[in-house]
Amino acid sequence: MKKLFTVFLMLSFLSMYFYGQDAVSIVRKVDRNEIYDSIKYEGEMIIELSGKKYVKTFYSYSKGTKNFFAEFINQDDAGTKYLKKDGNLYVYSPDTEEVIPITGHMLKESMMGSDMSYEDTISNDTLESRYTPTIVEETKMDGKDVWVLELIAKKKTESYPKQKMWVTKDTFNAIKVELFALSGAKLKEQTVTEVKKIGERYFPTIVIMKDLLRKNSQTTFKMNKIEIDVNIPENTFSLRNLEK
């Protein structure tokens, strides 16, 4: 009896070791696809709410995890700029010609009334550094073989303490992500509807986010003319550039 129990324990540890390692390596490969040293693209945000549609277009530049710059070019928002510098977020409003810091609770608020928060939009940290993953099951989704992973946040300050992720086995793309609150309530749902091969990576270029706390609402985030790991001048991420 004792022997059986010991063998059972060893097998459990071994299987945990192998699955645990697999989950981490899967997440690492997802990060390899989605996380970049620098990126430059033209973006489009289509906000759909209760039958109405609002289209926002912008240029965006990002470097590492602490620097980000975006300037909106659609008519209603022309001249509105966002800057993330050394981890701090600022907005420039052409109406008031003022630079305003966005801190604390504001980061979790909706950006431009969309389903994405400021944090959702500007975050470029790896999943591996923020979450502990485990494989829940293997299944099919939209005709593709996927792993279903459960990710638990390593820090309590994480916006979404838990995530559930469907990762394709062939390209290591998280084609569907469910984001949960600490209480377990599902807050948001993200689906990737287009992936493009850029260099060695499979990069998601069209993402749909749904804020489940809002009825009949979704935001489509499109990335066009993408250039990854390009040289972006440092002065792009400066307050002076924001105020120009």
């Binding site: 907005v91 109406d95 609770h105 431009m112």
Partner: protein, 414 residues
């Protein structure tokens, strides 16, 4: 009959203490009922005025989609009129007979970036014009501006509620950095300078609102020449249904809702519920007062059972006994009732000039006004008095009917 009346009056003066006790009980009950009626009507009147002034007007106009999402106070559903701009439609509505004022208003949630208070509500109104014919502070009968000046409509300036200013630790000259979502779903960040502090004696508004010039908020919110809501104030609210129908025909747009104040969700949720609550409170007090009268009068009747036995044995018929006690009771009721109406009426009349501080009474902040003006109404006084007289008279007849038909010998034995 005349003899019986003389006996009844003699009986009243024969035992002055008992008679005074009965009169006092009726007087206390009637004056109490009169006062409570004035108080409850005053509270209801206050709720109604607050709801109309701040929430619904006499008639409110807004987009049907705005109504569905009203809790979010969205700017994405402004009202648009075919072939007419906002100014024209306001002028057309003002021409309707019975309309006193028409005001466009905007109400929206705002995030604050530079204070530990994270969210406030911004109210865009034409403060100066709105308070010309209306008091926003019912207690002081004023526009509610207690410090500073009305903001300039060409600048990013605002008034702040007195409780909100305390909560945010702000004073005149300080700045609030706010963010709203415009009608085009854009982030609009702007800095507002506080030019004044208001006190509307309304906990919810004083604790959560800042007031900006309507035209300024209209511009920041990219509403162009539109508004989120229009409020119509009438000369006589009783005509508001008629005026509402005329406005509906004038606007003629199925996407635009025109609501009489009694149809609004705010009225139904707040005022109507409070009205029912006030009525329940009033009925409870009436029952208590009635029990006081009943108890006192019954005590007086049963105290005199031997007397009833004596006069019965001396030859007075049951009918005469009943009439005797009825008349006694009627006189006592009339005296007590009249005094009750007089004292109750004087006290409500005097108190109608002096506000009752509800906040101090209950130790908290209510949604509606923290102050109540007791309502003086001669009709309510007469009604309360008549009811009390009726109760006390019935209280005398019924037991005396019972007692009058008992065998006098049994009465003497008791």
């Amino acid at each position: 009959m005349t003899e019986l009346i003389k006996i009844a009056i003699r009986n009243i003066f024969r035992n002055k203490r008992r008679s005074l006790f009965c009169i006092a009980a009726i007087f206390v009950a009637v004056s109490f009922i009169v006062f409570i009626k004035g108080m409850t009507e005053g509270m209801y009147g206050n709720f109604e005025t607050i709801i109309k002034n701040f929430e619904v007007g006499d008639i409110a106009i807004y987009h049907k989609d705005f109504e569905k999402k009203k809790v979010l106070l969205p700017l994405q559903y402004p009202i648009e009129f075919e072939n007419k701009n906002l100014t024209d439609i306001i002028e057309d509505i003002k021409k309707i007979d019975g309309v006193s004022d028409v005001f466009p208003r905007i109400l929206t949630h705002s995030s604050v970036t530079n204070n530990f208070v994270k969210h406030i509500i911004i109210w865009g109104i034409d403060f100066e014009n709105e308070t010309k014919n209306k008091n926003f502070n019912l207690k002081t009968k004023s526009n509610g501006l207690i410090e500073g000046n009305i903001p300039d409509s060409n600048k990013n300036e605002c008034l702040i509620g007195v409780r909100l200013a305390k909560k945010m630790n702000l004073k005149i000259g300080d700045k609030i950095i706010s963010k709203i979502i415009s009608s085009q779903f854009s982030d609009k960040f702007f800095e507002l300078k506080i030019t004044g502090i208001f006190d509307f004696d309304c906990g919810h508004i004083d604790s959560n609102y800042i007031i900006m010039p309507f035209s300024r908020l209209q511009k920041i919110g990219v509403l162009l020449n539109k508004t989120q809501t229009l409020y119509i104030f009438t000369k006589n609210p009783k005509n508001s249904y008629k005026i509402k129908e005329i406005v509906q025909k004038l606007i003629n747009n199925p996407n635009i809702i025109v609501r009489n104040w009694e149809e609004s969700p705010e009225y139904l949720a707040n005022v109507k519920t409070n009205r029912i609550l006030m009525q329940i409170i009033y009925i409870v007090f009436i029952v208590i007062a009635s029990l006081l009268i009943i108890n006192t009068v019954l005590m007086a009747i049963y105290e005199r059972i031997r007397e009833i036995g004596i006069i019965g044995s001396l030859g007075m018929t049951s009918k005469e006994i009943v009439f005797l006690f009825f008349f006694e009771g009627l006189v006592l009721s009339l005296i007590g009732g009249f005094l009750g109406m007089l004292i109750g009426g004087i006290s409500t009349f005097v108190l109608s000039f002096f506000p009752v501080d509800l906040e101090k009474m209950i130790g908290g902040v209510s949604f509606a006004s923290n102050t109540i003006f007791v309502k003086f109404s001669p009709i309510d006084i007469l009604y309360s008095g008549f009811y009390s007289i009726l109760i006390s008279t019935l209280c005398i007849i019924l037991p005396s009917l019972k007692v009058a038909f008992i065998n006098p010998i049994n009465c003497l034995r008791k």
